[in-house]
Amino acid sequence: MQQPNKLSPFFENLNFERDDNTMVINFGPQHPSAHGQLRLVLELDGEQVVKAYPDIGYLHRGIEKMAENMTYNEFLPTTDRLDYIASTANNYAYALAVEKLLGIEAPRRAQVIRTMLLELNRIISHLFFIATHALDVGAMSVFLYAFREREFAMDLMEDYCGARLTHSAVRIGGVPLDLPNDFMRNIRAFCDKVDYELEHTYNALLQENRIWKMRLEDVGVLTPEDALSWGCTGPMLRGSGIPYDIRKEEPYELYPELDFDIPVADTNDSYGRYRLYMAEMAESTKIIRQLILKYDGTEPQLMAHAPQYISAPKEEIMTQNYALMQHFVLVTQGMRPPKGEVYVPTESPKGELGFYIKSEGEPYAYRLKCRAPSFFHTGLLQEILVGTYIADVVTIIGSTNIVFGEVDR
């Protein structure tokens, strides 16, 4: 054992003197491949991992606690900070949960815009996954190309809501803004660009790349039974051959009207998951193209009409007395949803993002639980890493696509 004192401090990265000839190393919390603040304590026998212990909580901000101290509308921008790679998906999951509780539905145009933004965010998140995953494994150029396309997508988000990372682009009951003038033309050009680059850049660089396949194939094998037991969702679940996508199975928003496929991989390994992400991006551009056509001919209304819960449009507030009074009450006191509890799952780019809200009829949620997919995927690491080699640890972490904003909340 180490005997730490002031002259020889505790050397926490390595623990040499052990009886059983294994070495304990400390991976993170400041490791560039840890995708945030993940600390992994790995026990190694030679190069093989004998035991892995994921230590999380370095980014804990008490978001669930904050939800109990904020009114429903105040809390919405906080959800941006969960999965900060695709923040509209969080805003939407939260807004949908509150809407279910209130029993309201967003108007048609808002639904088109929301679905479009959700899919745009899925592309942003998947591009980020491809970029960082390839960078971790060692393919630097993919990172540069993917970030180029992601930049275009972020510009589109900026055109819509003014923010690039923390969008807050969805409100409870609808969306705050209509699409800007050139948005349709730009997003169509972006879809063309993504489709072209998927075919000619990413697939050309990675799909049949010998090194990429050697690093990913049969690495991080997750059986369907384990995937279900560990609560894996999204690409982690579909990468194990279980075709479950909440957009198809429990459809919300405009997804029942749209024609898209759910890619599934049955190889159970990191390579299958990588292929899945690529295929999902192609599906997302397909969905966006259909939504462009659905936008035309919709009524210009953007927020649901529910005066008890949602403020009237600005023109009405400025011209009608009652709308102004309602707005004043809603801003100063907050909306009071009915008593009840709701759990609403949505398919975020990472997996099943659900919000459990318990309302006691107060303007503050009595309890809000955020079911973050990455939290459960991090828990999986303690089993999936055992028996692998230390060089594959980074591949497996990258393949789970965890984001620490939502792991630690």
Binding site: G57, T71, G340, E341, P345, Y364
Partner: protein, 263 residues
Amino acid sequence: MRKYTPKDNVQGKAYYTDRYHVVPSVPTFDVATDEVFAKQLATLESKVAVKSAKIMLGQMIVEINAEENFKALETLKNECGYAMLSEMSAVDYLAKDGNFEVFYQMLNLKEVKRMRLVCRVTKGQAVESVVPLYKSANFAEREMFDMFGIVANNHPFMKRILMPDDWEGHPLLKTYPLHGDEFASWYEVDKIFGKDAREAIGPENRDQAQVERYDTKRFSRVGYEVPFGADISEGETETPIEYSKTLLVDYTKNSGKQMDKRK
């Protein structure tokens, strides 16, 4: 007189409530209205005592005794097809009736059904861990322990997960203030300098991010630009902005000539 605030629930509260306001409830339905749920409930009732069951917003909510949680989940997993435990956590009702409500959010992928199993535990009572059935409960139960102090018996590694190991108190309790308690405010001082240093540092210096009003030596302050270390307790004088006197050098032409204007 100081305003009365209840000590058993220090979370955000509405400052105004219309006394004639009747809080509506989300409509609930009988389980018999849904065939699949009714069948699953019948299976469950044959194994454990069901206290109440209803359907709210498309999901079944079944309340059971806390002692039978493992048996109930085993039935749901093996006989009702609930292959995934999506989420589990607790709700603090200590201020209302001295209980926690522990909930298990389940998913049946085959029949696309979601249900919530809830049970009530008193303060200090433990629940049986369901890790042998669902491994996703491994992290979820640790989080529940961390946030509420509800222990899961026979859990493989019952330890705090989000908060530091040496933390005191459970942050999601209604009695725990949003800005932390006394222990939380001294945590960093205790950790870095030791408890003995509390007196020397003092409560006003324990926050590293605090900015003193008249401090002109540190970077972050709001107000006019003043010379380093100047005494501004009497008020600050507005100083004209000084631009750098250095002229730009035209490196491109490699002439060493200084440009007379910024370009």
